[in-house]
Amino acid sequence: MIRILQAEIIKAFARPRSYIGMGSIIALVALIDVSFYFTGEEYIGLLFQSFDQVFSLEGTIINGNLITFIILQTLIIQLPLLVALVTGDLISGESAMGTLRYALTKPISRFKFITYKWITAMLYVLAILILLGIFAYLLSLAIFGPGDLLVLNADGLVVIRDSELFWRFMASFIFAFISLTTVASLSLMFSAFSDNSVGPIVLTMVVIIVFTVISSFEMSFFDPLMPFLFTNHMHLWRRLFSDPIATNEIIQSAGVLILHTAAFFGITQYHFHRKDIFQ
């Protein structure tokens, strides 16, 4: 079993495109770190204009924790796209390359084949998140130092004490893993339906962008749609930085995402099992 996984990992991680996402993360984190290092105060000042009249916020607002939070918040929209770039290609890429028919003429069931592809996708997601963790969290802490986190919500602010933050970040990375697993499963599903490598990636990106745009509309017209947009649940990691923590909401959203993942995985298996391989 491990040998098949090894094969899938070699195939996925030997491709140059697997490192585009990782490179982008490093570049984006570096950019955000540098920009906050030079113009962070200005940015924070703009955000707090309405509060500034009566209260002044004292302490080190710009610290490693805030930068990590901002990076997470910024990349949470981009990360799925970077993940889809690789996971959307795992099956269709092989189909387009013609290698799929060789893999499937080996003694491995299609169920196992898809399962190993799925595990590979999960490992890629994990690799991306570990990289993000190292660069966003550790690097930002190293540059800006620790401190309380100031979270800006649409309707208020939350200040979370430094001592509370490590486990919250760890939990948010776990939640991000669950979210990105859903995205990876979605793109893998599209990948199973397609024989070209671009289609599933583009389709995944379109779904995420459209859903996210609808999520960000503050119009009551879209309110009934919200619970059905899985991207809406992906943003629930922020509730780990609320006070009190919206545990039930987070568990519920994680559950919804896991259900989506299971559904996408099931559809992938069902379709791929019946699929004729022509390419």
């Binding site: 009249q53 209260f55 002044s56 309707d155 609320s242």
Partner: protein
Amino acid sequence: MRQLIISAFIMAFSLHAIGQDANAILNNVRSKFANVNDIRCNVEMKFDIPGVAIDKISGKMIYKKPDKFRVRTKGLIFLPKQNPFSQLEILDDPTDYMAVPAGTAVSNGINCNIINVIPTNGGELVLMKLLIGIEDGRIHESELTLKREGTVQYFNTYASAEDFIPTIMEFKADFKRFKMPKAISGDFNSKPVREEEGQSKYETGRVKMTISNLELNRKVDDSEFVDEDS
């Protein structure tokens, strides 16, 4: 605001004699504060600000005349823009204001004289209303009307009869409700905040500072007020 000032002036002229009594009450307050050059103490801060979730925090508070004020904590805090000793700072020079008595009131169970302080130097302050204990001559409540920040209030509690510096200072102010577009905050899951008709855009926030280990006139150095990273 203008009407308030005009009426205050009218009151000031018509009650000139009583005003002399008011000056005496304020002189009493000022004289107690005159001996204080600096303050150093521990402070525990509790926040009750709508739309802001923040835990209480402990730290050190330092104050030095004429207007240096700083609270040092290990974390983030919300501080009133007007430092808690600003009422006393205003009283420091009697030529800068006019004192008008405005009757009596009870603050926190203590009978107080109400003194309106009207600045004459055209600064940020428009009007300061002080509730000064009839018996103890200490400020129990103050209300400052400021040009930019609007009205802010301080409620002082003293642990013992001898204390001149309050043990608990509670700051209260109205501020505009915090609101930020989802696209900027990134908070896509919050329920949309939709204001109902007639609902005020303002909310009241409170910061409570409990003081302990008070030290007076320990020659606090100016460098202690400077940011560590600046």
